[in-house]
């Protein structure tokens, strides 16, 4: 009944993962906070470099290609494209190291 080897559903052989598909509202809030942190960092770099009349390819390319947090749709903030998934979307947390990598754009139309 109790103890480390009690016969729970995950332990009785079957493949049963109980990881919620959606992020909780707190996880979503932290995700937005992380996105905004990267936005402000890029803005800091940009202002510091423009003061010295320097342009950097990495910063310019990021500004051109990546939407800021406020411009992103919720679908892109919390889910990621996956061609094998039903409806082509899976939760953002399925992305390895998802709290420490940038994942902002998805294939157009999906």
């Amino acid at each position: 009944m109790f103890g480390a080897f009690r016969p729970t559903n995950p332990l009785s052989g079957g493949l049963l993962w109980k990881i919620p598909w959606r992020l909780s509202k707190f996880q979503k809030a932290r995700q937005r906070k992380r996105l905004r942190a990267v936005d402000s960092l890029v803005a800091t770099l940009d202002t510091a470099l423009t003061k010295k009349n320097i342009t950097t390819k990495a910063v310019e390319r990021w500004k051109e290609e990546m939407p800021i947090e406020q411009e992103m749709v919720p679908k892109d903030k919390y889910t990621i494209f996956d061609r094998k998934e039903k409806k082509y979307r899976k939760s953002m947390r399925k992305l390895p190291k998802w709290t420490r990598v940038s994942q902002r754009v998805n294939p157009p139309g999906y």
Binding site: V38, V42, L45, A48, L49, T56, A58, K97, R100, S102
Partner: protein, 124 residues
Amino acid sequence: MSYFRITLTRSGIGMPKRTQGVLKALGLRHRMATVFYPVTPEVAGQIMRVKELVSVQEVDKALTKSEVRAERRPDPGFYLESATPRSDEAVQDRGRGNDEIWKYGGFNMVRDGTGKGPMSQWSL
């Protein structure tokens, strides 16, 4: 001359070797380690490689390691007073009814009228 103040807020553990190498090149070995680099395109490119892991400020002056440490030290909550030498004039003044100066334990206390507490209006 302006500098980037770069602080490692998220660990680079488990990140690709290239990312960890950038952190090593910037001298960020531990979380909350702070380094200063001049504003150059090279440093900006390095920061962009690790932008999810660090926080960056633009500052005018590069601080030394000990100055960064002193910044983090909390306020001790007290300060040490230094005694002024005892003078005889103060005693004579008090004898003539001048209450603005009085002697207390070897200190000459002078009323300044700016204090808020009962004793703080007396200063050395």
